[in-house]
């Protein structure tokens, strides 16, 4: 088994490109997505009459409202965004009136944004007419709260976890692919002839792929703890425990997929597909709460990422108790055991 480890170590030192690329990508994507979610909904504003400075000043005032980020844009860009329906709507400012452009009728955008813009303009108008004397405005406000005490949902942590889990699928798949490549180049046959037993060969490869994926996640988590000062809600070390069942399960998926395909290069198409499918179903890209279709929610139970993500969130901001971890880890372990068995059988059945 040591020989297998040695071989991997040499190979990684020889061409570290893929590994480094995967690490960089995980970090990059998590930063971009985790970092950008704090501003809330983006509202684009353009103006043909107002000077740039004036527009920026107004946007700065509007940006004090929580949950909305107002961004300025050009008229041409605004037209492009509307025509591709990249935004539901946007706002055009004039000196003392505004116009809301929506991409289609009854867009929620108009309902949500108009009150905010309208308030801004009427208050300005009111101030000009009555002077800024004592205002009774306070009396007309009210409080708004969610019905239940929400859990402290942390979007940036969720996307960090989602993307680390997603990319570890690639690392895992890519390393397991080397087994197939060895078989295709007939090196595997020679290895079998050597005193190393088949069990040792397989477990050597699998342990390496497991450790690589584990290392990848660990490095990303450490970077986010130390460099970006993320708050893990006191569950940082627990994360290293809860990802073990997940990694075991996706390792099994890697073996299974290698058993299903006919040639190693087919894995190039199959792994991204499976990984993206699972990530989408499991809520790595977006919170599962926004999914409305029932049967898709049912399908999400088949994705290992669902459980991995649940446990990672449970370890941090959801503050799970010990027995809450049992079910998801049991499911992952079961997936892992079943698929490893089937996968290795399939791989062994092939003559090459």
């Amino acid at each position: 088994m040591n020989a297998v480890f040695y071989q991997y170590a040499r190979e990684i030192m020889r061409s570290p490109f893929t590994l480094v690329l995967m690490l960089l990508m995980t970090i990059l994507f998590s930063i971009i997505i985790g970092g950008s979610n704090e501003g809330g909904q983006n509202v684009y504003v353009y103006s043909e009459d107002l000077t740039e400075e004036d527009l920026e000043n107004r946007l700065a005032e509007l940006n004090e409202i929580e949950g909305l980020t107002f961004l300025s844009t050009s008229a041409a860009e605004a037209h492009r965004m509307l025509s591709t329906q990249e935004v539901e709507g946007l706002v055009e400012f004039e000196e003392s009136s505004y116009r809301i452009h929506v991409a289609f009728e009854d867009a929620p955008f108009a309902y949500l944004i108009q009150p905010v813009i309208d308030q801004y303009y009427t208050h300005n108008e009111l101030e000009q007419r009555t002077g800024s004397e004592t205002s009774q405005y306070e009396a007309y406000t009210y409080e708004a709260d969610p019905m239940v005490e929400g859990t402290s949902f942390d979007q940036s942590l969720q996307s960090l976890f989602g993307f680390t889990l997603y990319f570890s699928f690639f690392t895992m798949g890519f390393t397991i692919m080397t087994i197939l490549e060895l078989k295709e180049s007939r090196v595997w046959n020679r290895l079998i002839l050597s005193p190393t037993s088949k069990t040792k060969l397989y477990s050597g490869h699998l342990i390496v792929s497991f450790l690589l994926a584990y290392m990848q996640i660990a490095i990303v988590l450490f970077v986010f703890l130390n460099v970006f000062n993320y708050d893990f809600h006191g569950g940082f070390w627990k994360l290293f425990l809860v990802i073990i069942p997940y990694l075991f399960a996706i390792m099994a998926f890697g073996i299974f997929l290698s058993g299903v395909v006919n040639a190693s290069h087919q894995l190039n198409g199959v792994i991204p597909l499976t990984a993206s499918g699972f990530a989408m179903l499991g809520g790595a890209f977006w919170p599962l709460q926004i999914v409305q279709s029932d049967w898709l929610l049912a399908l999400s139970y088949a994705s290992p990422i669902t459980y991995g993500l649940e446990m990672m969130m449970g370890a941090t901001f959801n503050n799970w108790s010990f027995d809450q971890f049992l079910l998801p880890s049991a499911v992952l372990l079961f997936m892992g055991l079943a698929l490893t068995g089937v996968g290795i059988r399939l791989m062994e059945r092939k003559s090459v």
Partner: protein, 396 residues
Amino acid sequence: MSYLLRKEIKQMLADRVALFTILVTPLILILILGFSLSSWFGSTTTIEGLSIGIIQEMEMSEEAVAASEQLLVSQENLEAMAIPDSLFAYAGNGLSVGYVNDIEQAREENYDVVLSIPAGYRTKMWEQQILGESSSDETFTLYRNPDSNMEAMIIDSMINQSMERLYVETTLAQADQEPLAELGEIHVQGAEPLSSFEYYTYGMSVMYVFFAAGYMANLSYSEKKARVYARLVLANIKPLQYLAVKTLATIAIVSIQMSLLFGICFTLFQVNIVNWPGFLTVALSLCLAVAGVTSLLISIQFRFSTEKVANVFMMFIISILAFLGGSFFRVSDMAPVLGQIGQLTPNGQALQAFIQASQGESIATLSSSILILCGIAVGGFILAWIIFPSKGGVAK
């Protein structure tokens, strides 16, 4: 040369996994994404069906009786201008309002929002409206139901807007000023909302055409490994001719792939394309761009005798491009920067142009995307032509 082209297409059609990847998987993904994210796209809202539950410490009539003595206004008039109750009269019949005992009950009965009104709040608002000031500082609380987030937010902003108007009107009336005119208007661009299915039909198609490119490059290199290429060269086929055939075959396969994908999805989801000529031009230029990328990949692999290029391309580059270009979801919702980067990708440009064409934008609007795609194609062809080993290169 036509027999070579026939060989390519036959070979591609014989590769089941490749066919599965470039035809069936996009269809599956379109269905998954279309269903799960349908609420993200073109969801429309009306007041119809929104519901508000009210918890009150004191009945309105009780409060009105007490206040009518104090303010010398009849009880009926007071009830007609009670806040927040009278606000819902604006909204008409679509809105349902019910009275509940506590939040638990409201949750069970699935109200979108609940207003909890303390005793004395209505009196305060009557004083505000009639006298212009009040000594009380009671305020009501609006609870949003997390299960119907969008509805709750809409009711919240509706109530907010009504309160706002009331404040402005009262203040102006007390200052003896003209009432305020409407300051804004809503302008509807006019097009139909884009459905999630339509979006993902384009999104997945522009992603999976590049898988065809990767497969083609893979296939070529395995031909080199299996000495097929060497034999072809021996049979007096010029190296660049070989490259040209591969490029043409890619164009053919991508066209077939796109016509099948679009054909199936448009029939299934009843998509209506307004600007067909524009749409087809975009599709054609995307075909060329993919062919350009394919020829470049093949050349790099042949020049440097490596198959890693196509592998890395399929494994990572396509996923990244697809992600940035918005094939999975609109990245600009997450970070505007990502959206701008996404516009630099060929698939992002094609996706945008497809949507614009289907919405009926003129060819002038589409021209920039078409030019970029054709530019990528030409750039790919030229680079490939320079890089491809025109002599030798037959060794394994």
